[in-house]
Symmetry: C2
Subunit: 154 residues, 2 copies
């Protein structure tokens, strides 16, 4: 039909998602958006963005890590990591230490302030997830996490 019928031009009551809500990618994006919006608010309190939060935690968990290794761990480009490390360094949360074995690279370490902030932020983020995922039981969340980990192949 090249010309829509009269009925087709009437305003609809509500938007049907029928064909899309069976797609895992579609559902994952929407679920992620809900969680992420609350995470951003949680992190703002500590002056952190999602990427600086993940980077800080990873540096604390991997003292001496280089920027290339950190970028690989975070699945971002080395070039994009530079401003992330700059931001954390400016706020005295991590430090770029010269490596005697390779003078091209820096060994990243968290400062005492960075380690302290990481602990506080991590607790807050666990609280955020408890809130954002309150509709799921602990077991359901464990199932969800296990399934998500298998998708990435980790």
């Amino acid at each position: 039909m090249t010309h829509p019928t009269r009925a087709a031009l009437e305003p609809i009551a509500w938007v049907s998602h029928a064909s899309l809500e069976v797609l895992t990618g579609y559902l994952m994006k929407r679920a992620f958006n809900v969680i992420h919006a609350d995470l951003v608010i949680t992190l703002e309190t500590f002056g952190l963005r999602t990427i600086t939060f993940s980077a800080l935690v990873m540096v604390v968990d991997n003292p001496g890590i280089t920027q290339t290794q950190l970028a690989q761990g975070l699945c971002i480009e080395r070039s994009n990591l530079v401003v992330v490390v700059d931001e954390l360094e400016t706020n005295d949360l991590i430090a770029r230490n010269p490596m005697p074995s390779d003078r091209r690279a820096y060994a990243l370490t968290a400062t005492p302030a960075g380690q302290l902030l990481r602990d506080r932020v991590l607790a807050a983020v666990h609280g955020h997830e408890a809130r954002a995922l309150a509709m799921l039981t602990a077991e359901e969340r464990a199932v969800l996490n296990r399934l998500l980990r298998r998708i990435e192949g980790a």
Copy 2:
């Protein structure tokens, strides 16, 4: 410790995710990235982006929908939808029909070409998800979809 130990400056073997891989938001982002990368490749074949794909499907499923309603359904801003509708209209996949009842609004309908493309793309996307989620059984995928739907509250 203000000065990192010698051992802390050694290059690490591999990056530990210990503190992050228990967070659903972190796992969801990484799992989504894997699926989304393959989806983008699948849609490129049809000259579609993620957002134009979703919009096309939603217009076919909701003939006569207005742009404001479509934006709400897609969870994007009306202003950002304009170029999406432009793109689909330019490619003769959907049409902006004047609404007699409200001359400010457009009733969006899919063209025959748009309906045809939707069917072909949707089949391809189902194939893409079968590939990207091959590590999960049909039942596991159903469980995952159900959990994701509940997070969004839909």
